[in-house]
């Protein structure tokens, strides 16, 4: 019902959807949202400036830490940009390893999201089951790289670690179980009324708006637009691997769930194909420390959508300018439009629907196990002056 006047409701910055900070100011009439104003940057770290202060090799570590979930997407994008500036081609085996890690990362990112979406609509049983399966993928990544996140697999000119037979066997075993379970969850999601009622027709983003607001990733594909950097602008070994781009015509949160579940199954097929067809040979080529003056744009399909980096070199060991545009920023305009006209109670699931990753703009923070938290300056990390 309308009250004929509006009030303003602040949402966040403490964890408006996921466990990350962002602020939205909602103007509501009754419990219907009339307008929304976002204010981001609560964890802004000045990373683009920091890129200009460090050498190309040091920046690989910085790129790894842009995001805690899709760190491999960022390092792949960064490595590709620098390799392009240098004009170097990486070995075929490195391309396949990049794809396998990227798809394992997509599995853990998408399963994280399905769990959160289930939690937001009160379906905590599904949340726990999905996250249990996600653990197996995290363990796998740890077995391969030594880390659950920030795998440090990429380097400029290739990858740093190989996949041995033992790791390949482990991956195949985990994928078999994961595939069976994801198929089960997809079926449950379609039938379970508590989930369907809270997501179908909620957070509608029409195809026309998705395109004009330049949305990316599963958010765009769930509005029926077939667009995926892996297909449109293939990188690494994606031009040699067959896969389907999953779309859905629902244009709502339910559609976004269907797309992500479908993409997990596709990722499993991509990994299996890559393991079956992995070429032998070297893992990396050596590259020069100085980069000739040049500029380029690098793109990858991160779990949340198109990730874009722009790099400009000036003939030294440090970049002249480095630009990072994470998929969450690309989806911000679309989600703000989607939120107008919805009920207050649907805000968390719609916000979570784009799978926002606010920490792609975060500041480095360490948590002390004894309690409390502190920040680590760039000096302590062996870089320049801290911010």
């Amino acid at each position: 019902m309308s009250y004929g006047s509006t009030i303003k409701v602040p949402f966040g910055p403490q964890h408006p959807a996921l466990k990350e900070p962002e602020h939205f100011l909602f103007e509501v009439d009754g419990d219907t949202v009339v307008s929304v104003k976002p204010r981001i940057g609560y964890v802004y770290r000045g990373m683009e400036k920091a890129f200009e202060l460090r050498t190309y090799h040091q920046n690989m570590y910085l790129a790894e830490r842009i995001c805690g979930i899709c760190s491999h997407a960022h390092t792949t994008c960064y490595a590709q940009a620098v390799e392009e500036l240098l004009g170097s081609e990486i070995p075929p085996r490195a391309k396949y390893i990049r794809v396998i890690i990227a798809e394992l990362e997509r599995l853990h990112s998408h399963s994280l999201w399905v769990g959160i979406a289930a939690h937001e609509v009160g379906f905590d049983t599904l949340f726990m089951y999905v996250w249990r399966d996600r653990e197996a993928v995290m363990d796998l990544l740890e077995a391969i790289s030594g880390n659950r996140v920030n795998y440090a697999m990429n380097t400029i000119g290739g990858v740093r670690r190989d996949l041995n037979d033992e790791a390949v066997q482990k991956i195949r075993g985990v994928l078999d179980r994961f595939e069976k379970n994801v198929k089960g969850y997809s079926e449950i999601i379609g039938k379970e009324q508590t989930f369907v009622k809270r997501t179908r027709g909620v957070g509608v983003l029409k195809p026309r708006d998705a395109v004009s607001l330049c949305a990316v990733g599963p958010t765009l594909r769930a509005s029926g637009i077939k667009s995926d950097v892996r297909l449109d602008d293939p990188y690494a070994a994606y031009d040699e691997i067959p896969f389907n781009v999953i779309t859905d015509d629902g244009c709502d949160v339910f559609g976004r769930t269907v797309v992500r579940c479908g993409e997990m199954l596709e990722s499993i097929n991509i990994i299996r194909h890559a393991l079956d067809h992995m070429p032998g040979g070297k893992l990396k080529v050596s590259v020069s420390r100085t980069v000739p003056p040049n500029e380029t744009v690098s793109r990858v399909e991160a779990p949340r959508g198109e990730l874009m980096h722009y790099a400009k070199s000036n003939g030294t060991t440090k970049p002249e300018r480095y630009r990072v545009r994470s998929p969450t920023l690309a989806n911000l305009a679309a989600v703000c439009q989607t939120l107008v006209g919805v009920h207050l109670a649907d805000i968390p699931i719609i916000l979570a629907g784009i799978d926002p990753c606010f920490s792609c703009m975060d500041r480095l923070a360490f948590v002390d196990r004894r309690g409390g938290a502190w920040s680590c300056t760039a000096e302590e990390l062996g870089g320049g002056r801290g911010q």
Binding site: P38, R39, I40, G41, Y44, G46, E48, K49, A50, L53, E84, V211, S212, L213, C214, A215, S227, D232, D233, P234, N294, E295, T296, V297, R299, E306, M308, Y310, K312, E320, R321, R323, R325, L329, A330, L332, A333, A334, M361, G384, R385, G386, Q387
Partner: protein, 154 residues
Amino acid sequence: MSDLVERLKAPLKEGLIDVKASRGRRVFVRVRRESFRDAVSHIISGIGVRHLSAITGVDMGGEIELLYHFAYNSVVLTLGVSVPKGSPTMPTVTDLVPGAVFYEREAHEFLGAVFEGHPDLSPLLLPEGWPEGVYPLRKENDYNKLHETELRKV
């Protein structure tokens, strides 16, 4: 790809300053400020490009260069335009590409570019109380200087 460049060249004529392709799928086109709006309308309605990936601002010394990265199938077409640092005004493209709204705001906040006709250029990322006129990605603001920047009380 070369077809794409030809389709841009014809309508822009003298407005076009430079065209280069760093590899098959990355094209950089520089245009004069006067021809910028025509170039964007042509890219959208003439060529049919629908997706703006981002806007990047670069401090070139006396000028600020704004790079509009349009994705078109496998190609990223970057449209570059320079504005003098003294009067860094640009017409907005939000009426042609609504998705540019946050990218223009970011370029304004970090490099001081002013987008005429933009609905809201208020701060988006920097902390509350950040002094006006201090643009972090301009080269004269080095890391130490930014570190000393004091926030206004809000």
